[in-house]
């Protein structure tokens, strides 16, 4: 097998993994702070895919640019959702949150089915079929763009948590809820902000996904599971972990399908997940709970 095939496969794995990682990042942020497991995560990603598709179909808006308004809109949506729907369930047992969000997921998937039908929808970008050729290695343009955009979003989010006052306040909440409340932080507001930020990540990732995959309501459960796998592998609550987890899963699936059997590729992801849970349950970059 020529060597450039291996390079191609590795690059594909890394680039796809970065976009997956961005999607998982949203889940990780929400869980890390609010301690709510968003079981409707994939569903929101698919809603964002449809919005990006609509933006392209109606205004010719490139999904990579649509990422900004969609991310913003999802931030608002997330804020409101947290304040009005999910907040009463914060601190309640996981199974109650689970039913609430599973119900929401069912509504979203089937609402999309009613609105858009089951056929896949696509944004036929002018550069959608182009690829770069570097020393015999072919790399899709869309994948490079999407991965670069995912990195930019992740970097912005990272900077926000690292250096902004609000970001630091949110981290304080995550580290010590009681302490944060005592020093007068508005925890409810910060939780809603965090949920909004997590949702903004999902929205941005969903918009980017449109350039890589076709939108259909039935994608959602697979996205949710993928995001969970990545977050656990990378480390729940760790932002860099989500990206590293995404890349690890992306690359392992790529090589599994290239060298072993494409139909069994997600088996390798689950095997990694099981191994991580057994050997390093806090995830690759997670802190010990």
């Amino acid at each position: 097998m020529p060597f450039d095939f291996y390079v191609t496969v590795a690059v594909q794995g890394v680039l796809t993994g970065l976009v997956y990682g961005l999607m998982a990042l949203g889940l990780s942020v929400i869980f890390g702070v609010v301690r709510v497991v968003n079981f409707a995560h994939g569903e929101f990603a698919v809603v964002a895919m449809y919005l990006a598709f609509l933006g392209f179909a109606a205004f010719g808006l490139d999904p990579i640019l649509a990422m900004l308004p969609i991310g913003l809109g999802f931030f608002g949506l997330g804020y409101l959702l947290q304040r009005h729907l999910i907040n009463p369930f914060v601190g309640r047992p996981e199974h109650e949150q689970f039913i609430l969000l599973v119900g929401l997921a069912i509504v979203l998937v089937n609402g999309l089915l009613m609105l858009f039908g089951p056929d896949t929808r696509h944004a036929n970008l002018p550069y959608g079929f182009d690829s770069y050729e570097v020393a015999n290695v072919l790399i899709d343009k869309v994948r490079v763009y999407a991965a670069a955009a995912a990195l930019v979003v992740a970097a912005c989010l990272f900077a926000f948590f690292r250096w902004s006052r609000t970001g630091m306040a949110i981290r304080a909440c995550a580290d010590n809820l009681l302490g944060a409340a005592i020093v007068g932080l508005d925890v409810k507001h910060l939780y809603a902000l965090t949920f909004g930020l997590g949702m903004a990540c999902v929205g941005a990732a969903g918009a980017l996904m449109v350039v890589l995959a076709d939108a259909t309501p039935m994608l959602a459960p697979a996205f949710t599971l993928l995001a969970f796998t990545i977050v656990i592998v990378g480390g729940m609550g760790s932002m860099a972990g989500a990206l590293v987890g995404g890349i690890l899963i992306g690359v392992s699936e790529a090589f599994a399908s290239f060298l072993v059997a494409p139909s069994a590729k997600s088996m390798f992801s689950f095997a990694i997940l099981i191994a991580i849970l057994a050997l390093r349950p806090q995830g690759l970059l997670g802190r010990k709970p």
Binding site: R92, P93, L100, G103, V107, F270, I274, L277, P281
Partner: protein, 330 residues
């Protein structure tokens, strides 16, 4: 029925009335209602199995379709390949499911994996097994395993070959048997230990409870029960596909009833199944009657109903209803 000694008079009467009316239902009910009741019993049974792990021992499993699928596949394969009857197949399925349960439990509990992490571990095992079965030649890979339906076996009830009445009473027996078993377990030493572990592991250990062993017992009993449900499913439907029976959506489907009904209660899984399955069937008829024929409409209402239920009665319908009916032991 000493395990029901804790019930007050009114509750005993209601339970007896409930069992009697279900036993007599085939006399009056039509085939559609019987088929819905079979589904209700099936989900009540599986809910009861899951409830042992989550409701009693506090271990969140989102991969119970694994045990159902193993019970189904093992019994079905023994029947189609070697003519081994389902009763023997059931025990073989149980053994395999328990082996998987033991592996998950050992990994999870030895390394102190809990909560969402444990849930993901169970999902990972279920998905891993689904893909493995998708590639297993012996059971027809992804193409499915078909149980032969032969006219000459049509009345071999001992081989679970028969009409809807056979499956009706079988499912009813499963549901009531699970209720009895869970009541007995709940009243026994292990039942108390499960609750202790669910409430506070460190405190339980300080009271001399071997938390690991107690949790292992929960996963073993729960997986064995779920696998029996799988054997029933295999012989009721006569065809199995990894992508359907091991799917995560099946795991989620089977845990809705106990949560909605009342997690950790004995009646909760049954009540939840009696709410959710008819809710789904009723919504199909209702949306049809209302002329809402767009596919997905029913499911949207179903999802909204789930959200409404958990909003109104977060700890389940049964604890709320029990108060209303005056069945609370003073």
């Amino acid at each position: 029925m000493s395990v029901f000694a804790a019930l007050n008079g009114r509750a005993r009467w209601l339970l007896a009335l409930f069992v009697a009316s279900l036993a007599l239902a085939p006399v009056a009910a039509d085939r559609y209602i019987l088929s819905v009741l079979i589904l209700i019993f099936y989900f009540a049974y599986l809910g009861q199995a899951w409830n042992i792990m989550m409701g009693f021992a506090g271990q969140l499993s989102l991969g119970h379709s694994l045990y159902v699928g193993l019970g189904a596949y093992v019994a079905a394969a023994l029947w189609t390949k070697f003519g081994v009857g389902p009763w023997a197949g059931m025990f073989a399925g149980m053994a395999v499911a328990m082996a998987f349960g033991a592996a998950i439990g050992w990994l999870g509990f030895r390394f102190g994996i809990a909560g969402v992490y444990f849930a993901l571990l169970t999902i990972a095992f279920a998905e891993f097994t689904r893909i493995a079965f998708d590639h297993m030649d012996w059971t027809g890979r992804a193409g499915g395993l078909f149980l032969p339906v032969r006219a000459e076996q049509a009345h071999q009830w001992w081989n679970l070959r028969g009409g809807p009445l056979l499956f009706y009473y079988l499912a009813l027996a499963l549901m009531l048997g699970a209720l009895w078993l869970c009541a007995a377990l709940r009243a026994a030493r292990i039942g108390h230990y499960w609750l202790a572990v669910r409430e506070d592991e460190a405190a339980a250990r300080a009271l001399g409870i071997d938390v690991f062993a107690v949790k292992m017992k929960a996963v073993l009993i729960s997986s064995a029960m779920a696998s029996v449900g799988g054997t029933f499913y295999a012989f009721y439907y006569n065809n199995l596909f990894p992508a359907q029976i091991f799917d995560m959506s099946r795991s989620i489907e089977m845990i809705l009833a106990p949560i909605v009904g009342g997690l950790g209660t004995l009646i909760g899984p049954i009540l939840g199944a009696f709410i959710l399955t008819p809710l789904g069937e009723g919504l199909i008829a209702a949306t049809e009657e209302a002329g809402l024929s767009a596919p997905g409409t029913k499911a949207v209402f179903y999802g909204l109903a789930l959200m409404a239920i958990v909003w109104v009665a977060p700890s389940g319908v049964w604890p709320w209803l029990r108060r209303k009916l005056g069945l609370e032991t003073p």
